[in-house]
Assembly symmetry: C2
Homo-oligomer: 152 residues x 2
């Protein structure tokens, strides 16, 4: 990926290489990096919620609401990075992603639905519902990883 | 980072290692990976907007509004990863980050302000204002990189 995509100075003297690259036809290795970045950040913001739902961390309604909002965006970001063009790249993505796109899509929607419930529950300040939704989010992560990610 | 943080099955049989790790005292290398992930995704969603503002890509109000919303979340995510504990990790972060925290914070706020203007302009369907805000976002990225990121 082009590193130097930022130029300062003139008001529109901004990113060229990356812009075009990212828009139309991102290179497979860029797509892999971007989708992995989205997974990394989902882990960052889901991790503490899982700990809270399990009682391993003190429940903090503010953090739950904030992370739920972040996850509502982050859970939309990985999917366009899983294109057939990336199937030759080194990653943990299993061929099932490209062979069973409907099932893969269903797994994404399961996550999106669970995150939606989490956002609603945390906005309503409903701790029990939020914890249940965190459980659903965790299961949807795990279900998708079971079917579509290589085990280590 | 613990890979296998997801378990399926019981409703709350979810993430342990990562949860605790991410919440309290994430390891320096995890913090670096997470903050780089946030930068990668900012690049993914800002790149096309830069291209549009420069007239190198056709202006698409829907993509601008969507990416603005994503950036509104993403531009909040890198900063807690820049802790003094990470200063020994391999990355492009310059020591100035830790030596001039007020200036670094100011650079973050400049980005947040520019992204806020972009969100408002794109919601209002104001193409000229959105393009101006994209320019400001680009300048705030570049200004921060100039002062706080190693040049290559």
């Amino acid at each position: 990926m082009k590193r130097k995509f930022i130029v300062v100075g003139l008001s529109l003297a901004i990113g060229t290489g990356l812009a075009v690259e990212a828009f139309a036809q991102a290179k497979p290795e860029v797509l892999v990096k971007q989708r992995q970045a989205a997974m990394t950040l989902q882990g960052k913001y889901f991790g503490p919620l899982a700990g809270m739902a399990q009682g391993k961390l003190p429940y903090d309604a503010k953090i739950v609401a904030r992370n739920a909002e972040y996850l509502d965006v982050l859970s939309q970001l990985p999917w366009d990075g899983f294109t057939a063009a990336t199937s030759g790249e080194k990653s943990d993505a299993l061929p099932a992603i490209y062979k069973e796109p409907a099932k893969f899509k269903e797994a994404q929607e399961r996550l999106r639905g669970a995150v939606g419930k989490l956002v609603a529950a945390s906005k309503a300040g409903n701790e029990a519902a939020a914890k249940a939704a965190i459980g659903e989010v965790g299961k949807s992560c795990g279900g998708c990883h079971d079917n579509f990610r290589e085990k280590h």
